[in-house]
């Protein structure tokens, strides 16, 4: 019976009839817009307009590709600088988040501190406050402490991340306490235990936190828009946004090319994340 059901599930003809249209729909809805974006980034404006109607292969593939838009972006619009700013901010935000969250997670899970649960509630409460609701006082605050219009103002406010603690805590908690005890008997202090015993064993959680933080930081828009004023400090999302905002007459090819360039690093990191996810799913399945 079980073998028969398994067989039936594998080659269920009804599901196969459903599958093909679903695959086609997913391709049309999710892949074609990206193809259109990349192809149009490699075309001059007239060609984009000419190729969109009637729809055809020409709409989604660049038959006479030109790098004119990309070159213009880097030479005239200085998008390289914006990419560099975004990279600096994202890397610093990841590093800062790890440096603050990992020791805090250690203290809250491996040391019997008095009032630990109160602390945890106070930290996780801030998780419920959307950051968009704090932008107004945050603007006054970063100006007040002399960080106005600096890259540091973009990432420093968010590195004490309650989400980071939330993601790290289960991994720190799961690690057997006997490991700490054994090290302690051999004379290791908390610094040694944290650095040589706990951290190497929670690498997966640290990697997950790094990737999530990177994507968050790279894709952020509202806070950089408020915190940064000078054009030299613009991050890549702001550079893209300013060419399409209402009232602008965007150069389509250049904007498409910019959108593609701004998205590539995030998608590259996402592919890393995916492999990593599959591995952690497999690991949790073995328990």
């Amino acid at each position: 019976m079980t073998a028969a059901t398994a067989m039936r599930r594998r080659i269920d003809p009804v599901m196969m009839i459903v599958a093909v249209p679903v695959l086609l729909a997913v391709f049309a809805v999710f892949v074609l817009p990206y193809l259109w974006t990349v192809a149009s980034g490699l075309k001059p404006q007239e060609a984009i307009f000419r190729d969109v109607s009637p729809l055809g292969l020409r709409t989604f593939l660049p038959f006479d590709p030109t790098l004119e838009n990309v070159v213009h972006l880097f030479v005239e619009r200085n998008i390289g600088r914006a990419l560099l700013n975004s990279a600096i901010i994202s890397v610093c935000q990841v590093a800062g988040t790890l440096v603050l969250c990992a020791p805090a997670a250690y203290a809250l899970t491996r040391i019997d501190l008095p009032g630990r649960s109160v602390l945890l509630v106070l930290i996780l409460l801030t998780f419920l406050v959307p950051y968009e609701a704090l932008i107004v006082p945050m603007y006054s605050l970063v100006n007040g402490i002399g960080l106005s219009d600096s890259l540091a103002a973009v990432f420093l406010p968010w590195i004490a991340s309650p989400l980071g603690l939330f993601l790290l805590r289960p991994a720190f908690e799961e690690l057997p306490r006997e490991l700490d005890e054994a090290a302690r008997l051999e004379g290791a202090g908390h610094m040694r235990i944290f650095w040589s015993i706990v951290l190497p064993n929670v690498r997966t959680a640290l990697l997950t936190l790094s990737i999530v933080t990177f994507l968050f930081s790279w894709n952020a828009f509202l806070w950089p828009l408020i915190a940064l004023q000078s054009p030299d400090n613009a991050v890549v999302q702001i550079a893209i946004a300013q060419s399409v905002a209402p009232g602008q007459l965007p150069n389509w090819g250049e904007t498409f090319a910019g959108a593609a360039v701004a998205t590539l690093p995030a998608i590259a990191v996402f592919f890393l994340l995916q492999r990593h996810f599959v591995r952690s799913l497999a690991a949790s399945g073995m328990k």
Binding site: R9, V14, M15, M16, A19, V22, V26, V29, P33, W36, T37, F49, V52, S53, P54, L100, C101, P103, A107, I111, D112, L113, L119, T126, L128, V129, P130, E132, A133, L134, I135, V136, P137, M138, S140, L141, L156, A160, P162, L165, H190, M191, L215, W218, N219, A220, F221, L222, V244, A245, P246, G247, W252, A259, A262, T263, A266, I267, V269, L273
Partner: protein
């Protein structure tokens, strides 16, 4: 090691995190409360006038705020009610033993990792009335052309469509993990009892997905509350305020109209809504909905 040593070490490990948390979370919340009872401009923030609860009175009487609140709620409800059935269907598909499901999962997640700015940029062009992709597609089957973003009736539905496109894959992956937690023998038992695939989903799987559904509802509601880039980039909050989401209204009120005091009162309102949504989630997750 002594207990005293433990406490000293713990304090040292916690200090940097707590110092940043106090400075960049609790201090802004306190500043927000203070600012919300003052009137001032960002040009001269030291010159504050105490206005009591005036900003809060205005919060409940100002027609623009009321419209912005209404628009945000409609956006959230529309998104949630469309994303749930579609994401669930997608998750059931991803959970079946069919070829290419890993590829499909990767593809539907792409918009989730694409920034709000790039999604808004792509959709500005997709929805362009003259040269946009969507009107070209609809035109090839004899529909349209539509105005989309410049029409008061179509702008908000267009942004719901875009948000649905961006978030459905993420919601589907959450549903997928919910589906994978359902014991296989429950579904097999229903099959033995003669339930067909549709009945198995409706009467066995769905009731067991209550918690997961709630999580998706809360996440999507919070995402809707946080929406900013589409309004800033695509519509400027218009036409006639029809896409003026709360966060966009806060931004405009504070940084363009130079009324950060009033904007702070709207922020307090936004925090209250966010806390209410999370509170409802906690209450519901503790109730007998669970299995």
């Amino acid at each position: 090691m002594t207990r005293k040593g433990d406490i000293v070490a713990g304090a040292m490990f916690l200090f940097p995190f707590l110092a940043f948390l106090l400075l960049f979370q609790y201090l802004p919340i306190a500043m927000l409360a203070r600012d919300s009872v003052h009137a001032f401009t960002l040009f001269n923030p030291a010159d504050k006038t105490f206005v009591g609860i005036d900003n809060y009175v205005r919060l409940f009487t100002d027609p623009t705020v009321r419209q912005s609140f209404f628009v945000t709620m409609v956006f959230a409800v529309a998104l949630v009610s469309l994303v749930i059935p579609l994401a669930l269907a997608l998750a059931v598909f991803l959970n079946s033993r069919l070829p290419a499901r890993d590829v499909v999962r990767t593809i539907v997640l792409l918009p989730t990792v694409t920034s709000a700015v790039v999604v808004a940029t792509m959709w500005t062009f997709i929805l362009h009335p003259a040269n946009g992709l969507l009107n070209a597609v609809l035109g090839s089957v004899g529909l349209g052309p539509f105005d989309f973003l410049t029409s008061r009736a179509e702008a908000l539905p267009s942004l719901v469509l875009m948000m649905l496109w961006q978030q459905v894959g993420f919601a589907a992956v959450i549903f997928l993990s919910g589906l994978q937690n359902i014991p296989e023998d429950l579904i097999d038992a229903a099959r033995v009892d003669g339930a067909n695939a549709f009945e198995r989903i409706l009467f066995v799987v769905l009731p067991l997905l209550g918690r997961t559904t709630l999580v998706v509802v809360v996440i999507m509601t919070v995402f809707s509350l946080q929406t900013f880039a589409p309004a800033w980039l695509m519509t400027g909050g218009g036409p006639l305020g029809s896409t003026n989401f709360l966060v966009h209204h806060i931004y405009v009120t504070s940084f363009q109209f130079q009324q950060p005091g009033f904007a702070s009162a709207i922020c307090v309102g936004l925090i209250a809504i966010a806390l209410a949504v999370s509170g409802l989630q906690m209450i519901a997750l503790r109730s007998r909905w669970s299995y």
